[in-house]
Symmetry: C2
């Protein structure tokens, strides 16, 4: 029956979810039909072999490694504006050297973007999303200097260690290496190429829409978007996802004022006897938002609008659950003894995929050091976020929370909205994903494909604004994004199943050919 | 009628307080009879003049200032163990130089105490409590180096600027200067003297009881305890108090465990969909402790045992309220727009004096920096304190909070008890206080006497353990305890009404004579 998906007709069809209410209040719970797991055998393994190109990659591997090092040795820390302009220019120069007809900086209200276009006279056009910025570093925490990009020995094999090695310069430059080898051997690519690169991904992509603005008419003509990424485990397992949740991120701040409390500064703690406390006010306001277990929001309309599991999503989740429990690794890593409501694997996955969350990322007020200090703080702040499934608009979501606080008498509590964007979803039936999966099977066996991860990324810009299928994809293994000692595996050890740089590039070669249909 | 207090019979008599319940739950509210304000005219101004001793002080003032500087130039930071032993030895040496029969270090499990005894063959014995330690410093924040103890010009006159200038080396050494002048002129003091000094006051006096242990039999024979202190405002107003609230200080920590949540470390915030949050758990547990306005505790028995206003206390509060509203300065300094329940001055004073508080001194969990970081923290901590009126035992108080958390299913939340001691109260009718008030009227006019401040100090050690009247007392002005640029006024400007060093010392001279009855 699942083969009817091949027609693409049911991919986004709404089904009537089977849902019950968690506890006395309304957190919807979805269950799925396990009878129709997605049939990965229906996807043929990509069978063509581009031997001349593969040989060019193998023969030029030292130069390809040097390309990664050249990118990685150029710092580009967006938060500190370190090396940003030089890095952006390096992309422009590389695009020009590859023969792009268009390669230019794109001014924004923040760090510049980069636009590249390579017309191959092909029928299909691939859009590539890139980020050229990286997270800050504390060099003293690194085994090898973060911008030295040295090759070092690691449990998984020979790796390149640098800030940006895997997030995201390494796989992105590997993708360009692959294209260079195609161009060197064949003279042209089998697809036209549009690249948009931004220098503010680590800042939440505040000005990426301005880059899209400038090229929107042309981007709308593309056939799909790829974000080059090392997606294998050290053992070689490939875990893919076709969607992300949206996010709303805000701060709530209680501060002394006309309702009570000290206004200008903290006061001696003994005055609590006659003075209201902004900390208690924040705590009582926060407590009013959830059920006593902190897991179900009491905000009216909080769970309205969720688009429940489609047949396609049900089939992917069923296949995934039959294959393995993706949450069991988490359970081990974080010594988790109990999931919410003692949920089993299916309920866990459904909550992660379909439940809007109400999370406190941080809270602070008053004295937070060691020992005893007695003050009545004049301000208290909570940092909060909601991960939003398909169907919930992030601004409307925050409006509901604001309205609920107001209705409960907390209109003095300030809500500062820091970030928001909606969910994004791509269908497994799109040619982009089918091409990637066929190549995936060649290099990594049958992948695990999650319809949507619990985390967020602003992929709505592709799926909603440009109506393009989009996925992060690539062979290879990396680790340490946002941490010291970030690495990308270049030459796997004998017992490591993940691809090395040569196979990563060969898979990218195969992918553009698979997408082209040639 | 208030003169019946002269008999001391009603001083600690319980009265039936007129109390109502705040809101729907039980915060008792006390009101008082304003008809019998304390009659300060009943206290005669101290009329003796010890001219020869006063002249000795005036003639030796430069040497007396040097004594303060000698103490202040010796750092004695208890938290960092800087200069502690040298400072303790300086006290021993000074006591010996003054002719004390006993002067010795007192080993404790922490910093050493100092014991001094000077037998004058007198009928009465004065106990003096001293602290020789000081708070840490950030020298770069100081206008004059914190251990230079320079004389500098200030709005109030010539001041000595140093860590410990007013808290508490300055007034303590001034007290010893006064005694040296008596000894120089008269050859002996009119009272016997017992001094206990500790080097851990700024750490919460954890080992002071060990000092008392060693001399308890002898301390029990004293007639009262004084803590030398600069208690005037720059204008010269003298604000005294005869008691302090007790305190219980603890931390509550929620941490992932068998109830749920990540156990070993923070986890990606998106997993909130399937995982409990220790931050929400702490917030819901905290919220369960109070009424929605955060001002009334719901813990059973929280308000039981309060010893309401005695007749003496009512008379002191009535006099104080008729004279001025001591909370109005606070209202201005902290821009307070509203007191709890829109309380007027009387209710404010009654809450500050008689209500046990439930205050959050600080709270922290997760990410507390700028901008967006999305984590589900594995731990959350609140730092809390209760200021406890006479009648509430701090350990029993914390037991009740613990039991309430347990009864509400929060037995996993850790309660770390950091500090506790009960309230202390001395009667205005005691000879110690009457002596101090008579001298106060000579130097500063009629003082304002608060029966008890809202803050805490471990004075129970004197009032409960040794059954001695105790009060902090002295002329003079100081500022900046626990802050940069701590000062003690030495030579007042023409328009400053506060006493300078010479008058501070003369008042201490008068006080010991007044207490002796000679």
């Amino acid at each position: 029956m699942m083969r009817t998906f091949g027609l693409g007709l049911f991919a986004l069809a709404l089904v009537s979810p089977l849902y019950s209410f968690a506890q006395e209040v309304g957190r919807p719970q979805y269950s799925i039909d396990m009878s129709y797991p997605y049939d990965y055998s229906s996807i043929p393994v990509y069978s063509q072999a581009h031997e001349a190109i593969y040989k060019h990659i193998d023969d030029n591997l030292p130069a390809h490694v040097s390309n990664l090092q050249r990118w990685l040795r150029q710092p580009s820390i967006s938060a500190q504006d370190v090396g940003i302009d030089a890095m952006a220019q390096m992309l422009v120069d590389d695009f020009r050297a590859m023969g792009f007809q268009e390669a230019e900086l794109v001014p924004t209200d923040g760090h510049p973007g980069v636009w590249g276009y390579l017309d191959s006279g092909a029928a299909k056009t691939l859009m590539v999303y890139m980020m050229y910025d990286v997270q800050p570093v504390n060099p003293e925490d690194w085994q090898s200097p973060p911008f030295a990009a040295e090759l070092v020995d690691h449990a998984t094999g020979k790796v390149i260690m640098a800030r940006g090695a895997t997030n995201q310069k390494g796989p992105q430059r590997a993708f360009l290496n692959a294209l260079e080898s195609i161009l060197a051997v064949e003279g042209k690519l089998p697809v036209n190429l549009m690249i948009t690169a931004e220098g503010e991904e680590e800042l939440g992509s505040p000005h990426y829409p301005q880059i899209v603005d400038k090229y929107e008419d042309r981007l709308l003509t593309a056939d799909g978007v790829i974000f080059p990424m090392n997606m294998q485990s050290p053992a070689g397992d490939l875990n893919l996802f076709l969607g992300v949740k949206g996010i709303a991120y805000w701060e709530l701040e209680a501060r002394g004022g006309s309702w009570g409390g000290p206004v200008t500064s903290e006061i001696h703690g003994s005055y609590k006897a006659a003075l209201d406390s902004p900390v208690w006010r924040l705590i009582q306001a926060l407590a009013s938002l959830t059920s006593p277990d902190g897991n179900t929001a009491l905000v009216p309309g909080f769970y309205d609008g969720i688009r429940g599991p489609t047949e396609e999503e049900q089939s992917l989740i069923a296949a995934s659950l039959l294959n393995n429990d993706s949450t069991s690794a988490l359970q081990e890593a974080f010594a988790i003894e109990r999931w919410i409501d003692d949920a089993g694997p299916q309920q866990r996955v459904m909550e992660l995929t379909y439940s809007p969350t109400l999370n406190i990322d941080g809270i602070y007020a008053g004295y937070t050091g060691e020992g005893v200090k007695t003050i009545l703080p004049h301000t208290a702040t909570a940092k909060m976020d909601s991960r939003l499934p398909v169907g919930i608009d992030p601004e409307e979501h925050m409006d509901k929370i604001r309205a609920y606080l107001d209705a409960n008498g907390y209109s003095d509590i300030v809500m500062r909205r820091l970030s928001s964007y909606p969910a994004a979803q791509t269908s497994i039936q799109t040619p982009l994903v089918q091409a990637a999966l066929g190549v995936s099977k060649k290099y990594a066996g049958t992948p695990a494909v999650n319809p949507r991860i619990a985390g967020s990324a602003p992929f709505y810009q592709f799926t909603q604004r440009l109506k393009l299928p989009m996925m992060p994809w690539g062979m290879g293994f990396g680790n340490g994004a946002h941490s010291p000692n970030e690495i990308m595996l270049i030459e796997p050890a004998k017992d490591s199943g993940a691809a090395g740089l040569a196979d990563i590039e060969k898979a990218y070669v195969d992918f553009v050919y698979a997408l082209s249909g040639e």
